[in-house]
Symmetry: C2
Subunit: 122 residues, 2 copies
């Protein structure tokens, strides 16, 4: 498909500052029906926390966001082809990529949910 | 696409009995990198718990699996066309459908992750 990320990425999403609590992350996920929340330091992407990470927190009784979040974040650019980001998510077994600008600011999110909508009939 | 669910569904997955604890659910998700776990009563599908539900548990300080799990489960059959299940997941904003037999037994799981792999180049 000739689509690029910008054609299907979500543009309204929530982020958290790195000093937020794990409970803040859980509340945002519940209130906004999200499963992936980018973590920022001075507006730049430094991590991601997902609902799967919250299962880590429950299983290990650890509630420190800085320990639970993933710091080595896979991301993509708005003009990346859809096929390429689908490959990346498959390769790393992840369901979501933050879309970042050249100075590490987050301008969108693309997940396997959006990609799967390309497969639906309507 | 002419694919049916059976072509791409996951056949090895974990389930939990309805009397399991929320912590059991969190542990299975962590150990097996899963985000969706079907809940069974006498081997029949009666609910589903996802990592998103765990964020509900943290945000609301409730750790009772029976209260946190979703009881009205959307599911599909192995011979359903892929386009149809993609529509269903989009309609209900869910990322996974258990694949069930005529007597409510779970024989597989299909998620937006599998559907998105159809979009990747290789
Ligand atoms: C391996 S995946 C498995 C579950 C599911 N596929 C998902 O993406 O949540 C879960 C782990 O991947 C991490 N993760 C999710 N999106 C990521 C991304 N864009 N870059 C790096 N890690 C990511 C999460 O922080 C979590 O620890
Ligand atoms: C509305 S979705 C939003 C997050 C994400 N899209 C997901 O599927 O986890 C989250 C809720 O959907 C429920 N859910 C997930 N799969 C389901 C299914 N096959 N049938 C019914 N509810 C389901 C979960 O129990 C959870 O309460």
């Amino acid at each position: 498909s000739d689509n690029v990320v910008a054609d299907i990425m979500i543009r309204s999403f929530s982020t958290l500052d790195e000093n937020a609590s794990l409970k803040d992350a859980a509340k945002i996920m519940v209130e906004e029906h999200l499963t992936h929340v980018p973590i920022l330091r001075d507006d730049k992407l430094i991590g991601i926390v997902t609902s799967w990470d919250l299962s880590k927190s429950i299983a290990s009784n650890c509630d420190d966001l800085k320990q639970i979040m993933t710091k080595n974040v896979q991301s993509c650019k708005a003009d990346d082809p859809i096929g390429e980001v689908a490959n990346k998510m498959k390769k790393y077994d992840i369901s979501c990529l933050p879309v970042i600008t050249d100075d590490q600011k987050v301008e969108g999110i693309i997940s396997t949910d959006q990609l799967s909508h390309l497969v639906s009939n309507y």
